[in-house]
């Protein structure tokens, strides 16, 4: 069993009173609670903080913890010989157990064992995991394999970390941040308690071309100045294959051209849209002929895109 220094985790002295422990816990919980914090490491950190608090706030659990002695965090150790008899159950093996799981099983300083076949009912734990999928997988639907290490109770009420693997089918219609529930695929219930659920948080890998907003997609559409001015038909890639998009004459930069129902499919029915955002791109190197043509256009055109500046400039003068 690996040692964890619960006092160090909460940042309190070993003789801190209950109020100081509670205050330290609350301060850290405000910072790291996964429903509040954006820190990617917050969830793991909060689990440590919560485990420490659950043990140190309870006088009997704290006494049991203190009697484990002081060790280096992460160091393998064995509790004193009489510790199991005093606080836990005598046959308990400390080899493959997590310190937090050990203390979670102690109630009032005594291990509360399950009663096989008895009336002790405990629902299975819910699990929440993030499934990373590509835009194409979201569009077609996919199956992901999930590997989790989760706490499970045995018939005696002891907690063990077990590896579980699932194949979860994600139907088409997923988008970034969307949630799925897999009923009964969480931890096993005990004594007739229902199994927990598995919650999947969908995270889309960034795509080289498309940006996602709900079920709509956004794509940059580079156009030449003459395509924008004169109008054109251009080939645009979509998830379902390329399409021809008609660019109307007089199209300007930043304008959004909508390709209806070319976005991601929605879970129930229909699809989002694909928006092509116009960018007007000028050649950085001009041939002689191009330079001459641009010069001719500049000399012959009366178009002034800065007309609205003139009143302001006259006013300043």
């Amino acid at each position: 069993m690996k040692y964890k220094d619960y006092y160090e985790i909460l940042g309190v002295a070993r003789d801190a009173d209950t109020d100081a422990i509670k205050k330290a816990y609350r301060k850290l919980a405000h910072k790291y609670h996964p429903d509040v914090s954006k820190d990617p490491a917050g969830e793991e950190r909060f689990k440590e903080i919560a485990d420490a608090y659950q043990t140190l706030k309870d006088a009997e659990k704290r006494a049991a913890y203190d009697q484990l002695g002081r060790h280096q965090p992460g160091q393998e150790f064995q509790p004193p010989p009489d510790w199991g008899r005093q606080f836990g159950d005598t046959q308990f093996s400390f080899d493959d157990v997590d310190l937090a799981d050990l203390f979670a099983g102690l109630a009032g300083g005594r291990r509360h064992a399950g009663q096989p076949g008895g009336s002790f009912k405990r629902p299975g734990q819910d699990y929440e995991v993030t499934a990373h999928i590509t835009l194409d997988e979201a569009s077609r639907g996919t199956t992901v394999e999930l590997n989790l290490t989760v706490p499970e109770y045995d018939a005696q009420g002891r907690v063990h970390r077990v590896a579980r693997s699932f194949k979860a089918r994600i139907p088409k219609g997923a988008t970034d941040g969307q949630r799925l529930r897999l009923r009964g695929k969480g931890g096993k219930g005990m004594g007739g308690g229902p199994d927990g659920d598995l919650y999947l948080n969908i995270a889309l890998h960034p795509h080289a071309l498309y940006r996602v907003s709900g079920h709509d997609l956004y794509l940059d559409l580079p156009l030449t100045p003459w395509e924008a001015a004169l109008g054109a038909v251009v080939e645009v890639p979509t998830l379902g294959g390329s399409v021809h998009l008609k660019v109307p004459p007089g199209t300007h930069a930043g304008q959004k051209l909508r390709l209806a129902r070319r976005g991601l499919p929605k879970p129930s029915a229909g699809e989002g849209d694909l928006y092509a955002i116009v960018q007007i791109v000028v050649p950085t190197v001009l041939s002689e002929r191009e330079r001459a043509l641009f010069k001719e256009l500049a000399d012959g055109s009366t178009f002034n895109p800065r007309g609205h500046f003139e009143q302001e400039i006259r006013h300043e003068a």
Binding site: R26, A29, H30, H33, P34, D35, V36, F46, A50, P123, D126, T143, E145, A163, R164, S165, F166, K167, A168, R169, I170, P171, G173, D176, G177, Q178, R179, L180, R181, L182, R183, K185, P194, D197, L198, Y199, L200, R211, V212, S213, G214, D216, Y218, D220, P222, A253, K256, P267, S268, Y275, I277, Q279, I280, V281
Partner: protein
């Protein structure tokens, strides 16, 4: 290792949840859920009826409510305020995400 296959259901407005189901999913009591409705944090689809049902997209809100109540020892009023502020943050984050999607990736 046994590999289990599982089908998934979307947690969105298309699926509905009874209040009893929300109690089971969140660990909150029915009285606490009704208090969150009174504070305007949750809205049943059928407020006129005695057996309330809710849109499936609030499942995660009530699960967060259960965790926050347990982990931060919040009372109903503080919990309602916290959930309201979290909801506003989520909405603003979604708006930022939508606006970011519309920004060109490469400069023209």
């Amino acid at each position: 290792m046994k590999l289990e296959q599982a089908d998934a259901m979307w947690l969105d407005a298309q699926c509905e949840c009874s209040i009893a189901e929300l109690v089971r999913l969140s660990g909150l009591s029915e009285a606490e859920l009704r208090e969150l409705v009174d504070y305007g944090v949750l809205a049943p689809i059928n407020p006129q009826e005695t057996e309330w049902t809710f849109s499936g997209d609030i499942v995660l809100t009530v699960r967060a409510a259960g965790r926050l109540r347990d982990d931060l020892e919040l009372d109903a009023h503080t919990l309602a305020l916290t959930l309201t502020l979290i909801k506003r943050i989520r909405e603003l984050e979604a708006q930022i995400g939508n606006l970011r999607a519309q920004l060109p990736r490469r400069s023209a």
